[in-house]
Structures are given as C-alpha cells and as structure tokens.
C-alpha cells in the first residue's frame, strides 16, 4: 500500500477529529455533578495508563481515561523550569523524602511524566528479569514473554537512538570520554521523532518531537473510541465484596490540586473493571483511603524503592554550548552489574544552578562557567534501600520515608568516582561534585578518589529520586505481593494496577518502557477476561 493510500483523506480526518474532540472533557466544561458508565475506567494517563486505555479501547471496550491534571498545549508550556514544575508536578515540584532527604516528583498532567521526562527508553537486561522471576515467584515476566510488548510499543512510538545531529557537544563529550577509558556507551533510545536539540524535554517539547502520551497513545485511544476526562481527582475506589464497582472523586482546578466553590463538582464513574495507573506514589494512597483495599498481604505502600540519582558538573576549557542538544542523549550500561547506569543530563540552567556551591562572587563565577559546563549523572539500582509510603489525613499526597542503605551508598560513591574519571578523560579542567564535606572543586582524577570513600555520607549528597517503584509490588504469592503477573490485585477480581508500583524491584534502568510493556500485557489480558 502506498503512503498516499494509507493516509486518511481530509474529510475522514475531520470526522475523526470532530468525534474525538467530543470524547474529551476539560475543567471548563464541568457545570454540575458528573456520572458516567464504562466497561473499564483507567485512572491516570501517564505511560502505563495511556497504553492500557489504548489497548482496551482497541479491543472494543468502552473505556474512560481519567486524569487529575489538565491537558497541555504547546502554548501552555512554561519556559522557566521552576514555574513549569509548579504547573506540572504534585506539591509544586517540592516533594521530598524523609529519612535520607531527596527530592522526588510526580507529574500531574495529561500524559503524566512523559510530558516532562527526557523520553529515555531502555529494556532492562536479562539479569533484572531473572532476579524478579526467582525472587518473586513470577513465571511470565521475562524478556521472552515481554519482548513482543516492548517491540509493539517501540514501533508505535518510533523509539530510536538519538541521532548525532542533535547530540550537541555536552553529549558527545561523554561518548568521547567513554571511548578514552574503554567504557561501552551508546546513544540513548528515546520516544522522539524529529528531535531538534532544544534541550527542553523537562519543560515540555515545543517542537512536539517527543512522543509523550498526550500526542501519541492518548489521541490513539480517542481514535479507538475511548473517552478522556481531565482535571478529575479520584478519591475513592468503590467496591462491594471482592469486586470494585467504579471510582468517585471531584474535579480539581488546574494547577491548584484543589477545589473552588461552585466549580469543583463531584463525579462518579461506574465500571466493570478499574485499572489504577495513578503512579507509584498515588495508587497506594487511593487504596489506603478506599478502606485499605487490596491489602490483605500488608504490602500496599511498603517496599518503596528509588533509583537515586547523583550528578557531577564538569567545566571544560572551551565552550560546550550546553543549551543545544538532546536533554539526555548518551548513556553507558557498562556498570549495570555494579549497580549503576551513567547518563548525560541537561535541565533549565536555573534549576541546575541550585546545586552549585558557594555564594557571592564565587557563586556568580560558577554561573559564568555554565557555557563551558556539561552535567553527567548516574542512577543507582538501590534495591536494598527500602522505604515506606504513608498516607496523610485529608491529603492525596503521601509521606515517603526512605533511607539509603550502606551497600547502596557504596554504589553511589563508586558511581561518583567513575563520572569524575570520565570528565577528566574528556579533558575537563575541573569538576564540581556537589558533595558537602569534600572539595567543592576538583582538578584531577587523583583528587577525585575521595568520592569513593567514607567521606561521602548520605546527608552530604545532593540526590534526586525520580524513578519510584514497588509500593504495590507484583508477586506470585498473594501473601507477599499486591498484584499477580497480569497486574490484577490478588484480593479483588476486577481491580488492576498498571504503574511502576507493581515492579517487584527497581529495574536498574529507566522504567518507562518496561512499565508500558507490562501495561500492554495487562490490558490484553484484561480485554480477554471481560
């Protein structure tokens, strides 16, 4: 079939668009209590929820996709990284863990985290799935069973390695450093088509090259007949015996997360099945606040894990022009067996500036060096650092208790040292490790040895934990986990969970693609069952 034959003719496109628009609801349309029915209601439109909604709608189910946040158009994006976070993140982007203090974020927007992440897609290596299978009584959660789902998503989203033309110097310096030290590295595969190198993945892609869910799976779900209702916050999962009957909650004013008299009406949706894809830190809150649902195992909210991330800024003798280039364009998986993955990183410079040390002229001098600066980071597979999620009265935001385990701290130290070595191999004149208690600036690999020493303590690190896992973990044994391999809650016949909370352990690599593959498998299974 030629391209001309496959493209929809204009009248067909207009028909689709008109029909799809009628299936979308936004805050401005809510003028009274809302009551709807559906076969399946999917709570959360992030990568997992969007895939589930699409596959279920494609299978002929009547699907409602619910999202607490609003849909963003390009003109709604905020270029200022700080203000962008207040609009796209729960708690204004200021959520922190307790114990080992670390910022962590949860997006609240149509498309979820995919709107403001850097689109990294990595399949976990075999050992990850082997650990999952042996440690958690899983029989079908391995590469052989999941690869067809990974492949289908890759084809749908056009996942491909970041081209050299948009790497920019700060990413290519990392490649060169790896080559110099004999470390394997590769361009990061991303769900991006036509990247222009603006480096603004974290504030929303104005070129719409990033195939975030709001431009990919959600429109596809609408095309397949799903309904999309935004600015609705689920507060209760309604249930009777071993079955759930739907969800209820109220509309929320965009960006406020709250109500406004006369505008934030209540809603109720009756459904034959519910898929919770609200995110690893929101789904357990919903379950707990719905009468401690699906928690006979006592595992809801427990086993909280992160990929704590640490970064180092390296200053080069000449211009790096870091504003140009894919936000995260290069990575190394060479140290996965040791427990960490290396990546390049860029973010709006004012956000990066938060971690620069000092004050006064010294601090301003560091700002002046930013055009010669690259930032590289490591995410750590901290599967010994277990935390717990607790609910707060009258709040949909959780308390996250988490501490970095000494064994995982050793991995962090090692990762910092490797990043430092890479910077000096690439010709950096100095690095800023961002660790309190050691030199603020280091000028040689020898000096950086201290980073792999007890001088680096958890309270001295600047970490971030943006991959969150395991709070409703999958386990073959119903007494030790919340869901089975199809994402169905052990305790309930028709309640499913499709987010990174079901991961049995942290996956050692960026989790989006894995979550989507699992969600696709669940959706196909659910579609067959109902």
């Amino acid at each position: 079939m030629s391209a001309e034959e496959s493209a929809p003719r204009e009248p067909e496109a207009a028909d689709w668009l008109r029909a799809a628009r009628e299936r979308v609801r936004v805050f401005a349309q809510y003028d009274g209590p809302i009551e709807e029915q559906a076969d399946v209601v999917v709570v959360g439109s992030g990568p997992c929820g969007a895939v589930a909604a699409y596959e279920l709608a494609r299978a002929g189910k009547d699907v409602i996709l619910l999202e607490e946040g609003p849909p963003f158009t390009v003109r709604d994006f905020e270029l200022d990284g700080n203000l962008s976070m207040t609009r796209t993140m729960r708690e204004g982007g200021l959520r922190m863990t307790r114990g080992t203090t670390m910022p962590t974020m949860q997006a609240v927007a149509l498309g979820g985290g995919s709107l403001v992440n850097s689109a990294i897609c990595v399949r976990p290596p075999d050992p990850v799935f082997e650990r999952w299978a042996t440690g958690f009584d899983l029989e079908r959660t391995d590469r052989a069973h999941l690869d067809p789902h990974f492949d289908a998503i890759a084809e749908f989203l056009g996942i491909a390695p970041t081209p050299d033309a948009v790497q920019g110097r700060r990413n290519l310096l990392f490649r060169d450093a790896c080559r110099a030290l004999g470390v394997e590295s590769e361009p990061i595969a991303r769900n991006v088509t036509g990247c222009r190198g603006s480096g603004e993945c974290f504030t929303g892609c104005r070129s719409r090259a990033k195939q975030s869910m709001d431009v990919s799976y959600v429109p596809a779900a609408l095309r397949a007949g799903a309904r999309v209702m935004t600015s609705l916050q689920v507060q209760t999962i309604r249930h009777s015996g071993r079955r759930v009957t739907g969800v209820a909650g109220h509309a929320v004013v965009p960006f406020s997360g709250g109500r406004r008299a006369g505008q934030t009406h209540r809603f109720r949706i009756d459904a034959k099945a519910v898929v919770l894809a609200a995110g690893c830190t929101a789904t357990p809150v919903l379950l707990r606040q719905s009468g401690n649902l699906a928690n006979r195992s006592g595992q809801v909210g427990r086993n909280l894990q992160f990929h704590p991330g640490v970064a180092i800024a390296g200053v080069f003798p000449d211009q790096v022009d870091p504003q140009f280039g894919a936000t995260q364009g290069y990575q190394s998986l060479a140290f996965l067996a040791e427990g960490f993955k290396l990546e390049t990183l860029w973010a709006p410079p004012p956000l990066l500036s938060m971690r620069l040390p000092g004050m006064g002229p010294e601090l301003q001098a560091r700002y002046a060096e930013l055009p010669r600066t690259a930032v590289w980071d490591a995410i750590v597979s901290a599967n010994r650092s277990l935390g717990e999620l607790r609910t707060r009265p009258w709040s949909s935001n959780p308390v996250l208790e988490w501490r970095l385990h000494p064994d995982d701290l050793a991995i962090v130290r090692r990762a910092l040292h490797v990043i430092a070595q890479l910077f000096f191999a690439a010709g950096a004149s100095k690095i800023l490790p961002g660790v309190y208690g050691v030199a603020e600036e280091m000028t040689s690999a020898d000096q950086a040895r201290v980073l792999d020493s007890p001088a680096v303590r958890p309270e001295n690190l600047v970490m971030a934990g943006n991959h969150v896992f395991c709070t409703t973990r999958m386990h073959g044994d119903p007494t030790r986990g919340v869901v089975d391999e199809d994402g169905r809650c052990h305790d309930l016949e028709n309640l499913y969970i499709a987010d990174t909370g079901i991961f049995p352990q942290c996956p050692s690599v960026n989790p989006m693609w894995t979550g989507m593959a699992l969600a696709r498998r669940q959706a196909l299974s659910l579609a067959e069952r109902f």
Binding site: D80, G194, R196, G197
Partner: protein, 225 residues
C-alpha cells in the same frame, strides 16, 4: 511582699516591654513592599533583597546583580503558583532566615539583629554559619534558600541571554494534542486548529546551536516578560 497595684504595674510593664521588643523585631522599620505583590509581606521583601545583595553582589561579570533582579517579584510569582502547603514552607524558610541570627549571630556588634538590618559582612557571616553547620538539617536550610533565590537570579532574562543559555526561539508546533485539547482554562470550542495545520518536526531539522533565542529573553527586564 509587693503591693498588688505595684505587682500589676510591673506585670503590665513587662508585657509592654516584651510587646514593643517583639514589634520592633518582627514588624517595625520595614519599607513598604512594592505594589503588585500577591503574597509577600514587606518583611519578606526586605529579607529577599538583603540576601540577594550578598548572594549575588556587583562586580561578578553577570549583567544583572541580585538587588536589580526583581527577586521579590519572582519569588512572589512562584509562591502564588504553589499549593498552600508548599507556599507556607517557603514563607517559613524566609521568616526563619530573617531571624536565625538570634540563634546563629553574626560575630559583630548587633549580630543578633534581624537579617535585613545587618550589614553585608554580618549577613555573609550568618549565611556561612548556616551553610557550614554541623547539623545537615540546618545546612539544608541554606541550600533551600539559595535555591529559591538562585533560580530567580540566574533565570533573569538578561543573565541567561548573556550566558547564551536562554531557550531557543521555536515556532510552536501543532500536534494531535493541539488539535484535540483547548488551552488550559478554555472550552473546546476555542480550538482553532484543524488536521491540515499539523506540523512535522522531522521536516524542520535540528536547531542552529547559535540560533536565535526566545523573544522573551531578548528583553532586559523581568517586568516585561
């Protein structure tokens, strides 16, 4: 045994002296806040400007210095956008720093005075004491304060433009999202795009690393953004 009237007089005097001291410490002597602020109190404005003066002083090569970077305006804008709980946290941080010198005084006469009344050297001393404190939970206060102000300072259009770090000028694309969803707060009937308006980023190709930057960053003032 004091006469009851004398006791009452002494008690009232003590209360009055305390009230005057508290009033002098916490509210007196602040200049009026600039018009147009939605959240910040005049004391918070004074603190922000006093901190900005020593965190981002003159003579360091960036075109805009701290006191000219309209940081109260920026912080006010940020606070307005935050949920109530987080807004309170940041305001508590500002209040804590304004009076932290009570517990971590500057090593100079009057070193326990409120932060915005201290001289520049004393302000630097207080910030350094907090930033290098042995207790990590105290140190993190300094990191948080510096973050709140640094974001606004470095994010000033003139500073980012000077460093070549302003966002690129990009013609907003039209994807399925723009076809399907109205702007936030608007009704679907406001959508003006049709299928034929969809843009293709592949056809546009990579940006020029030295290409033009967003028009909002070509101006010099935060007010004009």
């Amino acid at each position: 045994m004091l006469h009851p009237v004398l006791t009452l007089f002494l008690a009232i005097s003590v209360v009055l002296v305390l009230a005057i001291a508290l009033q002098r410490r916490f509210t007196a002597g602040y200049a009026e806040a600039p018009a147009g602020l939605a959240v910040l109190h005049k004391g918070e404005v004074a603190f922000i400007q006093a901190a900005a003066e020593v965190l981002f002083p003159d003579g360091a090569g960036l075109p805009v210095i701290g006191v000219d970077a309209h940081l109260p305006l920026y912080v006010d804008h940020h606070l307005s956008a935050l949920p109530v709980a987080q807004r309170l946290q940041i305001r508590a941080l500002l209040l804590a720093f304004e009076h932290l010198s009570l517990f971590l005084p500057a090593p100079a006469p009057g070193g326990r005075d409120r932060f915005s009344r201290l001289g520049p050297a004393s302000r630097i001393a207080v910030l350094e004491r907090v930033g290098s404190h042995w207790e990590p939970r105290v140190r993190i206060l300094f990191t948080a304060l510096r973050a709140v102000l640094a974001i606004g300072y470095l994010g000033h259009p003139a500073n980012l433009r000077e460093l070549g770090l302003a966002p690129f000028e990009i013609e907003p694309a039209v994807s399925d999202a723009e076809l399907l969803f109205p702007r936030i707060g608007a009704l679907p009937m406001s959508i003006r795009f049709e299928a034929g308006d969809r843009t293709d980023p592949v056809a546009l190709g990579p940006l020029d690393p030295h290409g033009p930057r967003h028009r909002a960053y070509q101006r010099s003032s935060r007010d004009s953004r």
